[in-house]
Symmetry: C2
Subunit: 610 residues, 2 copies
């Protein structure tokens, strides 16, 4: 049998691979390390996002699963769902590279203006030359000139041997705490740099900072390249299962992505890898596990136990990173399986754990992570909001890509919307979904239980012409711009919103109750994350995503995780504070919390409007 | 041109290699990792020891350098010096495997009867299972159950991830101090073992000890497989030069040899590599450098500065050892370039640094290392004795191999000798050389200046018939058994003995003087090392190798280095004591010591006999 080839057109690239029998197109695409495909469900055929176009060759017949997501026109054009399509012989496939265009918030949250005291430092040593009167070994000479407890690893000792041969006694040492991470001959007091990385499930953002001045040198970001293995942590954990190869595959993805972001920011600043001393990183507990090559499997099943939540300093070789040996990965600690280092970093940068006032931090993603407290104590919880606010499980939903409807405005009869970058509409993203829901509620098209107006009501209160409720095959949906096949919002979509907002609201209510406070006690609400920054506060209050009592106290803090990681890079005391945060913070497991279930039911309802 | 082949018959092995052009036979043999050839001068053509026999093929003509060492009969048989012979086309060569038969003292010096408190320990942990009420990560759970400061390296964390997946909370940890070196599921309190290794320039001896009981499980030894690269440290340093490949070649030799000794002793005790927790090692400073892959080059030139003399714990991967990852190499510290970890170990096992009495430790090899002192302070020095006492540079000299004459006895007219293992005479080794010198002095055949009796004296005092002075081509030599071509001792040989004994004697005298003591103050003299154990004390005193004032106080302590290393393996406090020894011990550099030069001249003379 002649060998069969899989050819992929991806952006400007054309990639050829021989086909392993039995693999579907998604699996074939997954095997290409430089290609990213959007597959939020991780290949289960339930999200309909992994669309590809076959332009040559044959494949398995279009399945029923695909027909749910593909129109007749799609099928005619050769569009298929990659996860449901088996090639039959050689095939050539086109994949639109939409993932590189996502709008990612790179702003580093609340700025850090504290003192510089980085964990990683350089030091020039000029040792007295050896003589017959002073025959101490070079290593002894060095150790005796350094603070007690300084540690040389063997790689540094080999460099010392080279200096000894040249009888070179001036050297520049790099330190990570008390460990010498690099040694170069002569004096080199050029600044050194760290990359602060926020590893989101969806997006990865990196900030290059100058450790000598605290200056921000540049930022870079991209959609998490693990995204093609599932949109949320559970899908990725499912994908990995107990397969070490797959864990290593995802680990390599994030390591390569960090290398790329490092290379990009360094290059833009006129620097190179030798100038980079460290990568500081935080992400949710699953992202931290994958980065470290630790199986995240038990995070996904009760009692949700991680392998590690400790702060950690690792060498590139320990996590399969290709960065130079002298670089150190400094990982922030997590609190539990669902309150990760990203939230610890967020608590750090918002200074909640040092605040006199009671504060609330809400980070909405596929999980809604919530922390509340002040300098005395904190409580935290994590609720499974689902991916509705990220545009997944919403029929016309998309992520924050150009053309996504990000806001709706309605002023009586006029109804308008904006898309990201003013591009032609590609769908509706999270902030748009919240605005739209608020509009539907206020306009009375949906009642507080989340039910669309019944057709029988329309005669009394006819929908606006362009933007109106229709009955499509027995299902009530809201359609706008008269585009009933591309711009609509269904009863099922609305239910997804209810589940998402209900879980966030219930989480907040549970924390308030468990800590013995009332909503009125909360002086500041920090909305974290890219999504938190884009949503309209009024709409969030209108749909009850946030309790209406909190009106006027809401602050968007942008990427509070990134800001916390930057703090740790610039000041080791901030890294120390993470321990204090862990000690102070109580984690409330909602799955076994009776009050939460009740709150969840209540919070699924919308506020009432007449 | 057809490829040419080098064929080597070595013991029962026949090895074929294609010939790299321009390489002499010694270099070709060096490229075979499993072959050992005796080449004390390291290939300079000055020792005449790297004899091989060509049985097929052609080679470069016999050089003048070779003619100094080879008889006409040798040349006729095809005997050549490997270092001076270039193959011309394919050749087949026989190399007698004499190195494997050396008699090596394996006795572990003064036995250790102190308490057991090994640096490496096992511990079984049974952690409380996780629950929704206790969601701490497995790592946190473990760290909180361990003493503060316990360190997990990343490899152990990966094992922890496997346990977490199985929800296995019972585990056995191995510790090296506070670092976890191994983790196995379940409870395993079988004993663990350490290999204590004495890395001599000439011989390597290993002792397998049970860390739980202190029991000696077995010993194994062999000639140092680096020996074919030079008999003494200077030749090996010369061989290495600044070539990293050659350094790595010698490092791999010693690592492989340690692996072999480990495997041999473990197998004999019914154990395997998994049971081995650590290799404790000491040797001279150059051997320690080579083991660690640190260039020893600057030890060989003034001011004789080593790269490292520190105690060190290394992973197998750091020194290219193939032992399992969990094994730790624990290296004893050295004092200076020429007072190595072997002497530190010797000081430890003889307990000099804790003694009320003034003690003297003398370790005679190619260097004579001498330490003197008591619990208050110690002084030490190293003298270049040269390899005479190891049989090198002595025309009929051999190492301590079977058939080597190891002792002479003379009782008036009767003159007898013994060979090692009663084998047919193969030459004369160090202890025999000392006995013979003492005989020659006492018999008046040599005067106190080291000059053989002149032919003119023979008429008055005719030499004994079988064992007598002869004049061979104008050189006076002592011949015994009438074998004037195979059993003789020349004026030049005697001069080598004078240089060697002079340097040791001068070293002792200098230490005594520098420390403000007199010879009478010395209460105990410890003769260390295999050689020290085999020499006859009376002969050593007779030739002035040791001052006659020390008569009656001499103790042979066998392998005092090995005994010290064993102590460190069994009790971490002993390892700590090495620091105390370093702090207490002053090193006297003899090359810049004016008193030493004078003492050296004086000590070159022999005691006078009439």
């Amino acid at each position: 049998m002649a060998s069969t080839t899989f050819t992929l057109h991806y952006g400007s690239m054309i990639i050829n691979e021989s086909i392993s029998p039995g693999k579907n197109l998604l699996e074939l695409i997954h095997s290409l390390p430089s290609v990213n495909i959007d597959a939020p469900c991780g290949g289960k055929g339930t999200c309909g996002k992994c669309r590809v176009r076959i332009i040559e060759g044959e494949a398995s017949p279009v399945s029923d699963a695909e027909k749910k997501f593909l129109s007749a026109a799609d099928i005619k054009k050769g569009i298929r769902l990659a996860c449901k399509t088996l090639p039959e012989g050689s095939v050539t496939v086109v994949l639109e590279d939409s993932m590189h265009n996502a709008k990612i918030m790179e702003s580093g949250g609340l700025p850090y203006t504290g003192r510089l005291n980085p964990l990683l430092k350089k030091k020039v040593m000029n040792l007295p030359p050896a003589s017959l009167e002073d025959q101490r070994s070079l290593e002894t000479r060095l150790l005796q000139a350094l603070p007690e407890g300084s540690v040389l690893d063997h790689r540094i000792r080999l460099k010392l041997a080279e200096l000894q041969q040249k009888e070179q006694y001036e050297m520049t040492l790099s330190f990570c705490d008390t460990t010498i991470t690099n040694l170069t001959p002569g004096s080199d007091m050029t600044p050194s740099y760290a990359l602060a990385v926020d590893i989101g499930t969806t997006t990865v953002v990196a900030y290059l900072v100058n450790l000598s001045t605290g200056q921000m040198m540049g930022t870079a970001s991209g959609l998490n390249t693990q995204k093609s293995f599932g949109a949320d942590v559970i899908s990725r954990i499912d994908y990995i299962g107990d397969d070490k190869e797959k864990l290593s595959q995802l680990q390599q993805r994030i390591c390569s992505q960090i290398e790329e972001l490092a290379s990009k920011t360094l290059k833009a600043a006129g620097l190179n890898e030798e100038d980079l001393m460290a990568v500081f990183a935080a992400g949710n507990t699953t992202m931290m596990h994958i980065l470290q090559g630790l199986s995240p499997q038990t995070i996904a099943r009760a009692p949700f136990i991680p392998v590690s939540t400790e702060a950690m300093i690792l060498k590139p070789s320990e996590i399969a990173s290709q960065l130079p040996d002298h670089v150190r990965f400094v990982l922030l600690p997590s609190l539990s399986g669902y309150i990760g280092a990203d939230i610890v970093a967020g608590i750090l940068s918002t200074e909640i754990a040092e605040s006199e006032d009671l504060c609330l931090l809400v980070d909405i993603g596929t999980n809604g992570e919530i922390a509340m407290g002040n300098k005395d104590s904190l409580t935290s919880c994590s609720t499974a909001a689902g991916p509705a606010f990220e545009g997944a499980n919403i029929q016309c939903g998309v992520g924050g890509i150009p053309g996504a409807i990000s806001s709706f405005r309605s002023d009586g009869n006029s109804f308008s919307f904006e898309t990201i970058d003013d591009k032609p509409v590609s769908g509706i993203c999270g902030s748009g979904i919240i605005d739209l829901t608020a509009y539907l509620l206020k306009a009375g098209l949906v009642d507080f239980t989340g039910r669309f107006q019944d057709e029988s009501d329309w005669r009394n209160n006819p929908p606006a012409s362009k933007d109106s409720l229709i009955n499509k095959d027995g299902e009530i949906r809201f359609v706008w711009e008269n585009k009933e096949d591309s711009l609509y919002f269904t009863q099922k979509d609305l239910r997804e919103v209810q589940l998402a907002k209900g879980s966030i609201g219930a989480g907040i209510a549970t924390l308030v109750k468990e800590s013995g406070h009332s909503l009125d006690d909360i002086k500041k609400v920090y909305l974290a994350g890219g999504f938190g920054s884009y949503i309209d506060h009024q709409s969030a209050l209108a749909i009850g995503l946030l309790p209406q009592e909190l009106q006027g106290r809401i602050h968007c803090v942008g990427n509070s995780c990134g800001a916390g990681v930057i703090r740790c890079a610039l000041n080791r005391d901030e890294m120390e504070k993470t321990k204090m945060i862990l000690n102070k913070t109580k984690y409330i497991e909602l799955s076994s919390n009776k009050g939460f279930q009740e709150e969840y039911m209540l919070n699924m309802y919308f506020p009432e409007y007449d």
